[in-house]
Symmetry: C2
Subunit: 399 residues, 2 copies
């Protein structure tokens, strides 16, 4: 596995941080998830619970170990200080400044482990006027401009359904950690990596940002139409609708051929994309007059034969039944002892030589406290005392 032998101390909770560490765990890292002994990661209680386990929690915490330590207590902080030297990477999603207040600022971390890689995932970044604000996916979507681009022109700005700022921040965090690991391999030096929900969403503005910066023109929401390409969008068929995306003149010509309107290529009012943008509704109506004569299935097959990107708009029940999605194993089933089989999302990165797999189901709270603490030299007597004083929670596995 790419990250075999890399140990990560994971102080994150909820979604952006746990997704970051799940990506690294799926690539082979040993992830030690530190949770509060009282209740653990709040996601343990969120989403649909089946046979005593949240499938949402199970998805984002596979391949991890759980150690339950009360980091508010001095004894808990002392344990953290014993764990850091044994870890290559520490990842947290506290607000900036909290690590320092806990006594684990950059200097201390470096003293404990000179080549430590520290990754911070926050709402707004380590510096700047909003650095200490609480953050949440929705707020990052709103403040990044993303919502101003999402939705129909006549409707208000719209949040994306899934929590994409959390997820993209998690992806950037994983990328930053891997970059720092590569650099450590060359130089022997650690680094401090910082990503934020807001910066992550701004990085997703793509050509909308470039066009705005170049022209000063604020882009409008365009719903399912493309901001700068026509025809494009959802087209009515006899029994539904199909998403069709002819990205350039060549593909536009293929679309015309596929729907039996090749003569339109020469039509002087629709030669260029700019002309078609100006008559977007007109060209759409012409195309729909053809697409509405046959089923979606018919058009999906025919348009693909002609090389026109297209597809159905699927709901989740259809997505997970789709033969392509099944071929790609984008849903996997993992046995969770005591909770039965849990189905969850598969691995989006496919490796020929070192494929990801689910080596460990999501852990019970504190399941690995004892073994991990023992591995860094905490004695059995100390562990027992810490348990009795409530600093740690560690199920007696051998009892």
């Amino acid at each position: 596995m790419p990250l075999s032998g890399i140990r990560i101390l994971d102080l994150t909770r909820i979604i952006s941080g746990p997704y970051c560490t799940a990506l690294l765990a799926d690539l082979g890292a040993e992830v030690l998830k530190v949770e509060s002994p009282a209740s653990g990661d709040p996601v343990r209680e969120q989403g649909v619970i089946r046979e005593g386990i949240s499938w949402y929690f199970a998805n984002y915490n596979r391949n991890k170990k759980s150690i339950a330590i009360d980091l508010y207590s001095d004894a808990g902080k002392a344990l953290l200080a014993r764990l850091v030297p044994a870890c290559d990477v520490i990842i947290e999603n506290y607000r900036p400044g909290v690590m320092e207040k806990m006594g684990f600022g950059p200097e201390r971390l470096k003293a404990l482990r000179p080549d430590i890689i520290h990754c911070s995932i926050s709402g707004f970044g380590d510096t700047g006027p909003y650095r200490e604000r609480p953050a949440f996916d929705f707020v990052a979507q709103a403040m990044s401009g993303f919502m101003s681009l999402n939705g129909a022109e006549e409707d208000p700005p719209l949040r994306a359904g899934p929590p994409i700022s959390d997820l993209v921040a998690g992806l950037y965090g994983a990328l930053g950690v891997m970059a720092a690991l590569l650099r450590r391999g060359q130089t022997g030096r650690g680094d401090s990596v910082s990503v934020s929900l807001l910066n992550s969403m701004i990085s997703m503005l793509s050509f909308h940002a470039s066009n705005f910066l170049a022209s000063g023109m604020v882009p409008s929401r365009s719903g399912n139409d493309h901001g700068i390409v026509a025809p494009y969008g959802l087209f009515r068929t006899r029994d539904g609708q199909v998403a069709i995306a002819p990205s350039n003149d060549g593909v536009y010509h293929k679309l015309l051929d596929a729907i039996g309107l090749s003569q339109l290529r020469e039509s002087p009012e629709f030669i260029t994309n700019a002309q078609r943008m100006a008559r977007r509704q007109e060209i759409k109506a012409i195309i729909e007059a053809r697409t509405s004569t046959q089923s979606s299935e018919y058009w999906i097959q025919r348009l693909n034969e002609f090389g026109v990107p297209c597809g159905p708009v699927l709901g989740l029940s259809e997505v997970f039944e789709d033969p392509q999605v099944q071929d790609q194993e984008m849903v996997i089933t993992v046995d969770h002892p005591g909770h039965g089989d849990v189905r969850m999302l598969g691995f989006p990165i496919k490796f020929a030589e070192a494929p990801s797999s689910c080596r460990l189901p999501a852990p019970e709270l504190g399941a690995d406290t004892q073994s991990v603490l023992a591995s860094v030299g905490v004695s059995a007597a100390e562990i027992e005392q810490l348990r009795q004083t409530g600093v740690i929670s560690a199920p007696c596995i051998n009892a």
Copy 2:
């Protein structure tokens, strides 16, 4: 830099692949962008052009070198075979099978460079019934179920404004390449990495997927409301609206305190999130009766003081003027000789020791053909002949 000394042969075009290689270039890799001599990456002509350069192209192709080779010609393919041994990584976004048809299947690549890392970015993945279909961001958004979750319940499924399936696939591609580089560092072996637009978007379904898989209940679109949390969403103020995201009971209580409705904590019909979900419109109206008495600015300051995640919904002109965004340098200005200053998105991953920077502006088509070919042993006479036969395009820099 984390990827100093890593050379990447970049056969990608448009956006998912170029974003992947831009991420790696920003981390220090030497990226050799191979383009067709005739016109190069189509994005050179897309988006707003200023002083002869597309700012969209400039954004996604910074820190890269351009070599213009006609890969349809045998002589061009022969040049590619001379470049592969000098590169650590080859990244392409052809449809699966095209590399084989070009004569560069896995066996050949491995023969040319035994520890090569090959990354393929495609619409649907290397296997499965749709593997050869043409793909496009919109189609992946439609087929992944993402659109079924985006939009208001009463409206049709909606594409996200920015091309997020391209971008997320690019992120996974970069992550996969870095993972393979880390593994190569340990084992000396290369790997083959494959990511797809569809799988990338499916991986973004998050708790919607977990909840569906656990319950069989197909989630509905919830617009700006949260699928499983209330109150949550956009709330009217005296002069606009504010996004407020109280993710749990604790933050809900802080919100009530901030808006002077602490007594509502005890209100028996609003104790639990489930109760508030059932009376979502009612609780929203109660809150808006307060928020509508003051300005957005007032509430953003006050709610943040109370620890309630919130923020304004910003358009792009406001985003790039925002003091936090400026502090985080999420817009940078890069001098492009002959085209003036180009403003573009900054770097979302911040490193303390090895920060990203723009070392090279986006290259002119073929600007580096000559120097790169010379570096792999192609003689000046050969280069001149290849230029005259149109196999390469290489501006005479010293002419």
